[in-house]
Amino acid sequence: MTFTLLYTILSLSLLGGLLAVILFIVAQKFKVQEDPRIDQVLEVLPGANCGGCGFAGCRAFAEHYVNNPEATDIFCPVGGNPVMKLAAQVLDREVQEQMPKLAVLRCNGSCGASERLNIYDGSSVCAVAADLYGGETGCSYGCLGMGDCVNACVFDAIYIDPQTCLPVVVEDKCTSCGACVKACPRLILELRPKGPKSRRIYVACANKDKGAVTRKVCSVGCIGCKLCVKACEFEAVTVTDNLAYIDPDKCRLCRKCVAVCPTGCILEINFPPKKQKTENE
């Protein structure tokens, strides 16, 4: 009886010891040297794993950032400059500051602005609707309003305004990860620089039809009249395919294009209200 116990304890202890030795050898042989800085960088990162930087999650970003000292285009859009500064401190690197960006909706065709010609009662997913047909309004470029961008946003930064039927990007929450830009089947969301004091100007339209056609279907669509091109002193506005585009790098926010736009599709955001004109028009 006591011998049975003894043998059991002995054999199991031997077996355990043997396996421990094997494990130790294997662990030594296949040891992976991981840069401890990767974990340090990872700690600084937001940890949202949104993929906005172009990598599969924050860890992949950290690995890439640590292993490629030369690469300059690595940037965490969610954390922005503060996070990148911290990450650079870990590695004693210079940081390239980028303008904070923001998703903007290049469509202004709210319920009031463009007439609803039909009622869609299919699966309420923008991608399905865009695949099936031209949309509820006559504009085949504008927002479908079913909220694929809302579903794509992991930061709760977009909601559909029931008044206008258009998605609204919440400035404080948007991290410019670009998930909504990818989700939109009509490609009407764009990442633009937030601008100094969050002031920015952009063309809120994506309609490439001729002016007359656009005007028929939407009262606030870009008709490609090029008045903005003429008004701009910095050559920031270009019109291609009957659609104006303001280059954010060249734009000096003078707002001259906003004043001349006949349909009001150029939006100015966060500017103080203009002074009242004294003369009567």
């Binding site: 039909n118 031209g134 006559g138």
Partner: protein, 447 residues
């Protein structure tokens, strides 16, 4: 015992209310919108410009490649515009707009109603006429007919199947065509059979809910050894190319293979009629038969329409429109094609096209989709799928955007018949997502 296909399928009520209404000639519209994208493949390239005067049957657009088809003027008059116009689903397509003036036909087109069943052209001449006169498959997909009739290396067709199944509920245009123009349909079929080769066997497949059509075709083919009529048991989607081959011959088209690999080529009876008109009468494909119908029996019509007629005009003539331009009272939705595979009309000013086979009117109650619930794993969609796919799985994969797994589960085999959606007790938008996934991965492949 009638034949049918072996996998899946559903039995919707056929509702063929308009089957006793003879085909009426629809009046020539004042303005036609002829789309350049009426067929599968490359859109045609217009050869007319604004201000040109054209005659009926004149070539207005050339094919843009082999898998493409020419387009001909369906009315005579002045070309008012060549520009993108929204089609019936509201997407912009390059369109030739013609303002009608009179009804002058191009010389050489035989307009007499006399039937010419004697075939004098050689197979080469027949083939040339089919490709030059813009004949496309009128079963729905509008695949250019000459492409189907072109022999492929190593694949010898043994059977030509004329598709008279018309399994879509409501539609009766093919049925009326067989009843009224059976001889022409058979002649057209015989011509296509000769193009394929003299040893090819001709089969006409008709569902057994159309006994009159079966009788007509049986009588007409009684003298021919090369032709036979196969009555089919009513079941949707019998008119699908792959299902019809299975039903008639018992052969299954493998995944990613062309139907001709089984030795069978399927052509719609409407196509056969168009071939007859093209070869014997020199008439390009400028008109087709469509059914205007609804379930409350108030509107039942079969029209022969000119290509490019605005849908609004057809509905107005049928009595489905109010004076202020809205659909009349009970109707809320118009479906272009049959209720199973058709697409709803988003733009009533859009035109009908070569392959339009019907306009079905529905009331709000009939078409309103119910709120989708959760999948209860009942496998009804799997049982209904005629391609033996797993719609519930494809749906989940499509939601996750897993392209690789979708392809591994044969998403490209989906024929978009809608059986899964029809049978789903949870009203899940199965087909919506599967179709989207198909289109997305096709686009990715092209890149």
């Amino acid at each position: 015992m009638s034949k049918t296909f072996s996998i899946g399928g559903i039995h919707p009520r056929d509702n063929k209310f308009s089957k006793d209404k003879p085909i009426e000639n629809f009046p020539i519209p004042k303005r036609v919108f002829i789309s350049m994208n009426q067929h599968l493949g490359m859109p045609a390239v217009p050869v007319v410009k604004k201000g040109d005067s054209v005659k009926v049957g004149q070539l207005i657009a050339e094919p843009a490649g082999f898998v493409s088809a020419p387009v001909h003027a369906s009315v005579s008059g002045i070309v008012a515009d060549v520009a993108p116009y929204p089609d019936f689903i509201g997407k912009k397509v390059l369109t030739v707009v013609i303002d009608t003036e009179g009804d002058q036909w191009l010389e050489g087109i035989d307009r007499s109603p006399q039937i010419r069943s004697e075939i004098t052209d050689t197979p080469q001449e027949i083939f040339k006429k089919i490709s030059a006169l813009g004949i496309v498959g009128l079963g729905g997909a509008a695949f250019p007919t000459h492409v189907k009739l072109t022999p492929l290396e190593g694949m010898k067709p043994e059977y030509l199947i004329l598709n008279g199944a018309e399994c879509e509920p409501y539609l009766t245009s093919d049925y009326r065509l067989i009843l009224e123009h059976g001889q022409e349909v058979l002649t057209g079929g015989e011509m296509m059979r000769r193009v394929l080769g003299n040893d090819v066997m001709g089969i006409i497949g008709i569902e057994n809910n159309k006994p009159k059509a079966i009788a007509v075709m049986k009588k007409l083919t009684s003298g021919f050894l090369q032709w036979k009529v196969v009555p089919l048991k009513k079941r949707y989607p019998q008119g699908g190319e792959k299902q019809l081959i299975d039903a008639v011959l018992g052969r299954k088209v493998p995944s990613f293979a062309l139907p001709v690999s089984t030795g069978a080529i399927v052509q719609n009876v409407g196509t056969a009629f168009a071939v007859y008109e093209a070869v014997q009468k020199n008439k390009p494909l400028i008109s087709n038969v469509l059914t205007v119908t609804c379930s409350d029996l108030s509107i039942q019509k079969n029209y022969r329409f000119r290509n490019g007629t605005p849908i609004r005009e057809i509905l107005t003539a049928a009595g489905a429109m109010e004076k202020d331009g809205t659909l009349s009272a009970p109707f809320a939705k118009v479906v272009n094609g049959g209720p199973m595979m058709g697409k709803s009309v988003a733009n009533l000013d859009g035109p009908v096209m070569k392959s339009t086979s019907g306009l079905v009117l529905f009331t709000e109650e009939e078409t309103k989709r119910k709120e989708p619930g959760e999948c209860i794993r009942c496998s009804k969609c799997f049982q209904a799928c005629p391609m033996r796919l797993q719609p519930y799985l494809l749906y989940q994969l499509a939601l996750a955007g897993n392209t690789e797994e979708l392809e591994a589960n044969r998403v490209f085999d989906c024929i978009e018949c809608g059986c899964c959606l029809y049978s789903c007790p949870a009203y899940l938008p199965l087909l919506d997502q599967i179709r989207l996934a198909k289109n997305v991965s096709l686009k990715n492949k092209r890149k």
